[in-house]
Structures are given as structure tokens and as C-alpha cells.
Amino acid sequence: MRAITVTTGRVLLLLAMIASGLMFGGSAASAATVSINLCALPGMAPLTGAVTVPIWGFGIPTTPGDCSTATASLPGPQLDVTLSATETTTVTFNVINALPAGHSITFEIPGVTFDAGPADVDSGGTLSRSFTAPASPSAPGAANAAGTYLYGSGGDGGRQQAMGLYGALIVRPSTANQAYEPAETAYDVEAPLVLSAVDPAFNNASDPMAFDMYQYRATYWLINGKAYPDTTGITAGAGQRVLLRYVNAGYDNTTMMLLGMHEHVVAKDARLLNSAYGAVADTIPAGATEDVIATVPAGGAPSDNGFPLFNRQLHLTNGGQTGQSPSPLTGGGMLTFIHP
């Protein structure tokens, strides 16, 4: 399911770019340009097959400028930008605030340096923010270069992000199937994993600004907006290199444990590490991103379901807990599998 979602996102993005007449490339002397249209709007999100909650989320309007043609999703659509090998790329986000009146939004991408301009917009308005990415390969540590980023709105004192206004931005180097420019970041299979949590009581409140955050208590723990068993597995066979792009959009420092293989942590916060390291349980701070590559070993997986990847804080439950054992007993929460 996740793979389909990503494909859809890319198609929509492509459509959006075609519709706005902006594509990669351009004249050799000028920068390439990418324009991404987004709407921030109310919607509904299915956390599991049985549970759907109201959200505020991002969606891509099929008709630019018309948010009635957009659907909010949790997380927001995956945004992809591929850098040019020859020239800089200017990326522009046109974000329409379609939230209820009185809620201004911001558009933020930690780690990205935006060009000068407004950073927020009231309900009903459009916010345009742009940044310039370097040609790829770029100098180490160059601003706005390839990497995994979290985008979102910081409006309403952070409550908009709790409502669902977040997503993953992937800036790709010019070489295909690599997370970064060095060849050791090559991968066969890519899996962005947006980690977050939802307290349905908060999302169901008539106005998130009226909710007493002291009472906030997440009960659904999500990978790409879904709790197990509705999470989408990661399909990869023995010997394949799986790139896991962790994006922690939640409020907790989240430790993800992978069973049956080591993962190789190559980058944090869209910056390559000087010293990559092996891990089976690495903690992704709230608001941070992390790129790891795991090579699927030959031989059997720990279970018939594959190689488990799960939240080691053991947020493996869905919704309220009133029984003598965690619910659902068959597994829930922030859990997925890598399987053939």
C-alpha cells in the first residue's frame, strides 16, 4: 500500500508540475525550477481499518489553486525533488491555507534555508516559499542538498503538526538509487518511514486550540499514518539494500528496533555522518530524520511475517487499553516488516 501511495504522490507531483508549466531543466545558464503546490486542509485519516480520525493535513490540488481538488492525507504527500547534475535547482512551495478561519499556517522544513520572504499566511491565503538547492554532486555540508527532510506547519503553537500537517521531503542526488552522492549510499529498495502518533481525543476536538494539551495522550502509533496491522510492509529480497528514511514527525524520541539484521546509519538530519555505524535499535529524536541502509541477509527471517521493524518503546497497541493484556493481542502500533 505504501508503495502505491508514493507512486500516486509522484504522479500528482508530476501532474502539478506539468500543469504549472514548470519542469526540471531549462536553459543551461539558468537554474532548474521545481514548483510544488500544496493545500493545508481538514480531512479524515484511517489509522487502522476500523478507526478514522479527523485531521488537518497536506494535500496536492489536482487543479492548482483550488483546494477543493485536494485531499488531506496523513502524513502529507511525499515530496520529491531530484537535483540536477549541472545547475542549481530552485524549489518553490505554493501552500494554500484552507484551514478553518483563524488558523494561520507556517511552512517549515528543518535543515532547509529558505529564500527571504513571508513564512506564514492566514486562512484563505497562499504562502510561497522557495529555496535553492545546489547542483549534484555538491560540496559536503552544502545547504539544501540531497537528503531526507521533514516538512510541516508550525502553526497554532505546534498543534497543527499534532493534527497531521507534516510529511517527508526527499531531495535526491543526480545519481539514481542513491540517498546521497557517495556510492555507499546506493540502495535497491527505498522506504520512507514517517513516524508519528495520534490522540483521537485531540483530533476529534471541535477546535484543537481549545484542547487541554495537559490531557494529550497519544494512543495510536503510526508508520506513514498507519498502525499495524494496516502498516505497509517493505518488500525486499535477500541481498538487497534497503534504504530506510526515518522521519520523526511525532513528539517522542522514537527508538526503532530491527530484528534479524543490522542497519547501517549513514545520515542524520539530511547530513551524511562522518562515521557511519551499525545499529539494531537507534533513536530518532522528535523532529529529526535518519537514513539507514540494511542489507537483507540470506536465510530465513525471524518470523513468517518477515524481519520485524518496531517501536522499542513498545508502542505496539492501538487505541484505549482496558483489558488484562495489550490490545490488539495480535500486534498493533508502530510495527512493520521487511519481507520478500
Binding site: 530491527l258 530484528l259 562515521s275 555505524y277 539494531v280 535499535a281 537507534d282 518470523s303 518496531f310 487499553q321
Partner: protein, 669 residues
Amino acid sequence: MARRLRRLGLALALAAGSAVLTPGHADALPAGFPKVGMVCTPGSVAGSTHTFNLTANTGYADTPDGNSIFMWSYANHDAPDNDHFQTPGPVLCVTEGETVVVNLTNTLPEPASIVFPGQAGVTASGGSAGLLTAEAPASGGTISYSFTAGNPGTYLYQSGSDQAKQVEMGLYGALVVRPNATTCPAVAGTSCAYGAGTRYDSGREYLLLLSEIDPVLHHAVETGRTYDLNARRSRYFTVNGREFPDTIQDNGTALQPNQPYGALVRLQPNTATNTQPALIRMVNAGLLNHPFHPHGNHTTEIAQDGRVVARTEHFAETIGSGQTLDYLIRWDDTDQWSPASNPLPVAQPNYRNLTFKDGNTFYSGSPYLGYKGTLPTGTVSQNVCGEWYFPWHSHALNEFSNFDEGFGGMATLLRVDPPGGCFGSATATAIIGGTLKGGTFAALAADDGTYYQVNPKTTTRPTATTAGQTTITVASAAGFPTSGNYYIRIDNEVLQVTGGQGTTTWTVSRGQLGTTAAAHTSGAVITALANDWYATFTGLPAGAANLKVTYKGKNCQNTTGTTCAALTSNLPQQRVQICDWTIAGAAGCSSATSAGWVTLPPPPSQPQGVGSTDVSSTWTLPGSGSAYVGTGTYKGQVRVLVHTQRWTAPSPTAFSTWGDLMKIVYDAP
């Protein structure tokens, strides 16, 4: 109910007397386990297959505030443990390349399993399918897991079933994969955590396994009640299944029958001869990330999750849930503060102005490593010999508590012993064959050229002596041997006493050791040709081990004057002996020839010829020091005798014995 009865039993035992608490361990530990440091459960090895038999069962963990928590854990099924409940689970130690087989029997009321994070290719046989791995069915089901220990390192093992409940309940433990001889070429006294660059002192390997407990959940499971996992709030924070101060109790303490693993980290300063660091293996089996803060020195992080990382130095590092981290720690006494040679540049607070929480302290009363000082009256010191203690604890300070009462919880101590061990200086001397020439026991405290000096014993002949007389009377026999043949000197003649020892009428052989029998006038002085004195050391703890005795001294030709007259030939023979209190108690070490004196074993061999140049020697008594540490009236007392005799030709003359330094060094419990 069973729990209450057990606690009642403990209370009765306490009322009846503390002796009940001292018998050997009832815990899940192999024979001969060390009191501090990591203890491995041996399992069984056949060829290259290393097998462990575990049982998932239930039991109770005690907390320092008197609570008793219902736990689930893994027990060692093999003897001598025989499924004795323990938390955390057994420490499984294997060698790189071995095939590891873990057989699990599940006595819990729901399916249970084991997953091995960091191990690839784990296969399961038997059991039933589960979410993360195959499981042992409830109430007696079994399963067997097998994998090749491919990489050295520190790993976690835990339940893969109903994790949110079972891991909280305690189903976890540590797996240690040691490198094989190819990865880590053998070097005596050392081991490696990974490759040869991760060498450490084999005797200083520590495991700190962190976890936490929400007693409400445990009580709900115990009583079959419901529990809101979303309301989880841990109240107890553990290291190796215990909360501070229980964490610093020994491995296998009888006080904690189900929590066998202590967490005290004990080091000696690294020196030219103690070059290797200690290894600290940390495992976070809990659900929370813990910011762990070791006081006292930076620790060097060398690995994470069983893989070597670029080294970084830390005095605080968050260890994530499910993560393992390995550290090397050196402790270098860079300042070398010493009361004599390098005193602290600031005045110390007067001990009368000090107060200690609960009137209890680990402070010795002296700021100098290896020294003890004065503490306010009524203060109890846990300090043995001036060692230093540093807290290692979670810096999430709510975790540094027991049910919100501090200090406690996720904490232990780093104990730094003085270099070489605890050392003691003489607190008294006694001359049992000789007379005091000069100095006091204090002169023996340092190698500083100040001497404790003993002259030979003398007496007189009340009457004249003929050249052929073989029975003589003396004014006093005090200080002369009461048994055995010995030599004396009158004028230029050496005589051997062969009878009447201990009385004032001696049978003697005349003209000995190259001298000629001669007549002596009435009142002639009789001089012993041996000096005997002993030093007393006090305050040694029961359980002191590996005693080392160092003595440095010389013998001088003169018995008067303040300089040492050279003595370079026909050297006095020195024999240093220690009191073995088990032979005849204090009486056994009362005179120079008492039976309790035991010659210190070589090296160096004894007797040694010692002239007027100082000779320094150190003897070691390996193993328990219990025979040499007095009890009862003589509790904590060690006596070391210096016997020096000059009983060899030609014509030995009397001499004085000068002691410069005498100290003992020992491993405190």
C-alpha cells in the same frame, strides 16, 4: 500470600539474629562466581555448540523501599539453578563462531518467546507461529532457537511475544559474544570486547543492564486485573534488576535471592603495571531511553549494538531503549595528591563542620586516595581503606529514586581502590627480642629514611665465668628465646644456649662460631645475636584477600649513636613472618619462637642476608587472608614479625636492626 509469608520469615530471621543472613547464596549463579563484575551462566558446550536451557517463569523482586514486585523472567533450567527465579535473565556468554542453542520452556499463562536483536539467521524449531518469532505455547510449551554467534559484542535478548506486557514484566537478559582467538590474540590477563584494539583487564568486566518497572502493571498481572498501558508510569528504575543502594551489594547476596547481579564497578588507578582499562557493557532492556551519567572520569564509547563505532568520550550518554553500548574506562590518578609529597592546595573543612545524610557516608574522612581520616562522632563510614566512590546514575533524576524517593533507583557506584589495593601502615610495634634503640612505629609508614631501630636484648652474668663452665646463670631471661638453640655473646666469645631456655640457668656450648672459650668477669654483659620485633596493623576488613607485605630495612654494626655503622660481611639473616591466628591465636604470636609465626613465602626466599644497605622486599599471600586477620579481641589485626639473627661464623657481633618501611596491601572485600 506466599510472598507475605516469605517476608514474615525474613523479619523473624532478622529478629533472631543476623547470622541467618550470612549463609551462601541461594541465587542463580555458578560456583566460584566473583563478588563484583559480570557473571556468566555457563550453559554447556559440546564441540562448537553452546547450549542454554531457559525457563520462562514468575517470581518476586525486592526493592529498597520494602516493596516486592511480581515479575516474569527467564531462569536457568540447569543445575545448580534448577529454574530458580531471577531477574534479569541469565547472562548468556558465548564465543564468536559458536552455534548457540537456546531451549525455552514456557511456564507462563500465555505464549512466550525469545528474540535476539543483532543476531542474523536465528532459526526456531518446535513451538507455534508468532508475530515476531515462533513461540513456546503457554503453560509448559517448548521451543528451541539456534543461531551462529557471528560477531563479538554485547546484545540484548528479550521476549518477542506480547512485548508491551512481557518485556515490561521482565522477560529480558544479556547475551555476550566474546571474540575468538583469531579476532583477539591471547595476552595474559586481558580480553577483548571486539578486536585487539578493544583489550581490557579480564578481571574488570562489568555489565550494567538498565530497565524500569511500573508496579501497577505488575500488580495487575499478578492479580488478574486490567491495566491501561497508555497510562504506564515507571516507578522503579533498575540496574541489573536491582535499585540503588541494592545495586552495590555483591553478586549473589543472600539479601536478594532473586536478583543475583550486583552493579558495583570497581577499579584501581591505571599505572605502569596496571595498564589495561575496564570494560563496561551496557544494555537498555527497558522501554525508556536513559541518560546515563558516570561520574569520576570520561568513559570511552567503543561500540553500539555489537558493532564497533568511532570512539567518543562521554560523561553522559543516552542509551536508547533496546540498545547496547560498550565502554572502556581508564582511571588515571593524574593529580597524585598525597598528604606528604603533594598536598591539596586548599585547606580541608574541619570534620566537626561536616554532616552526612543519615549519618552515613562512603567518605573515608580524608580527601586523599588510600587514606582514612576523622569523621564526626556518630557518623558511620562505609569506607574500607580510603577508596573513592563515584555515583553512576541516570540523569533523568526521577529515575534516580525509588518510587520518587531519592536517592535510589537507576544508580550504582564506581569504587576506585588505592593503587595496588588497600594499604595499611603499622599502628603499633612490639619488641619481643631486643630493646628499643630509637623511633616509633610511625617511622615505618613511609620510605623516607627515618627508622624504627631495635637493639639486641642484653642481660648480665651475676658471677664470674670460667672458660670451661657449661652451665651459667643470668640476671634475666626476658626477651631471649624460650625454646630452641640460640647464640649469645659475652665479650669476645660466642656461646650457644642449648638448655634451660626460658629460665635463668642456661646450658651452653662454649667457644662457638670461630671464637675461643674464655673466662669472663662477674657482671659481664650477655648480648643476644638476634633481634625480634613485630608491627601490628589494624582495621583490616573481614574478607581481605591477597595480602602483600612490604618491608624495607637494614642492620647496623653499632648499637649506639645515630648513624649506621657499616656492616658488610657475615650479614645478619632476616626472616619476615606473619601471624597465622588459626594456629594458636594471639598466644601463637606472643614471643619470637611462638608457633603462630609463618614465614612469608617466596619470592623472595628467606632468610635474606641484610647488611647496612636497605633491602626492600614484598611478599604475597595469594587468596583469602582470613588466617592472617585476627578476630574477636584481635579483630582486623595483622602482625608481621621481623626476626634477624647473626648466628654464623666468624665471630658474629651484636647489631641493631633498622626498619624504614613496613606496609601491607590487600584486596578489600
